[in-house]
Amino acid sequence: MSDPANITLVTMDGTTFTVPSAYLHRSKLVQDWLRSEGDKQAMEVKHVTPFVLQGVLNFCEIHAEDTSEPLADPADPTKPFEADPRDDAFRGMPDDQLLQFTMAADILQIPELVRLTAQEMASRIDGKSPDQIRAMFNPDDLAEEDVDSDNEMGEVGEEGAISK
């Protein structure tokens, strides 16, 4: 890598982002890549749109100076979730964007962002029926096996769902 202080990320459609490497010190994927393939020009980030990657990088920039110990597990029971006002923008995004950010956080292996988006998804699932959850977070990407399982579960899904 020509400039070790910066890292270039490339989304699947070829959009590139160059940011200080220090921003991504909580991304296990990036850290592993830097160790093993850091001599390459750019790191490809599959399945992440430029818009989402920019949002993820914004999150990383906001938290770049954080001194808290990195999370090993997003659901670590010893570290209760505490809302951070700096993350309000992430909590206000539409459902489909929230899903994409959750996926991107998982792909880049940033436990702090996984925790944030998962917590937000959980709060939106509260009290929703399976159909509503599908409409919110599983709209067009049902795999074939999921369609089959939905058919298997059909009546249960309608009648067996628990409402509050």
Partner: protein
Amino acid sequence: MVDCFGYLLLILWLEQSSRQFSPPPTLSCETVMSNPSGTVMSTPPLPCETLTTICEFLFGPTSGAIDEHLSRGDLFNCSLVSRGWRAAALPLLWETLAVYCGESEDVDIDSGSSESNDDIWPMLADSLVVECASAARDTDPLDEGLRTWHPNFDNFHISQSPRFLQNSVVRALADFYPNLRSLKLTFLRELWDREPPCTVISDQSLCFLIDSCPHLRHLELRKVSDLSNRFLIHCAQHASNLRWLWIEQRGVQLTGEGVVDMSGWKQCLEFIDIRCGNRGGAKMDKAFVKAMGTNFKNLRFCQLGKISRGIRN
């Protein structure tokens, strides 16, 4: 306090959800350089680990501010979204499913939980217990349920249920429960006399189970099988994590003859009890009995026919 904070978050979310999301401020460094193709990319399904994290926030110790507002009902609804969501939600939702079929052939699902909320649905993740006081003639085949739901039980126990004591159930376990730790299939003597199972568990299906469930630690087959030495030969060789083996059957052909390679059992086996024939009095193969007395570092109890090695410390 947590309750109030949770409501506050909920209100906050309701307010925010009405707003259009605007991305956070642009990065201060060099960012977008090019977008040559401009293609639209679809988001792949969330991996199971992430869905599990979401579900743990729904009902787990980390849920913090919202844990007072969410119940197993939410997890159950998540389990109905898709196969992937189901795989993530069910292990958190269920702990033990106990199905008892009484004289009236009604199926009662006992949650084992004192909670009134959602108590029609059991907690189940590790264990499935099925017990029938009588033959439930019209019960749906259990193996179909296992193949459909496969929530990855660790422990599986069927007792007094001739309808469910089928090779197809064992095959379904072998096909879909690779993490199975304990399998108990039992039938009381008095019920056997009155209404013996229409089929018995065979060598072939149990050998397949041994091969498919490498973590199996506890295998208990009491009056449900008519096994031969073929199973014992296979089990002794391949069941390397088995700690507890208890077989009780009427057939006298399970003598241990031909069991030479015990490399599997020698890893972990602590308890073995094999009794065949009337009152377990059938004679066991002498060479087998002798071999069981040597080179088993973990074996604490050994009962082969009428011969007992007692308990070692």
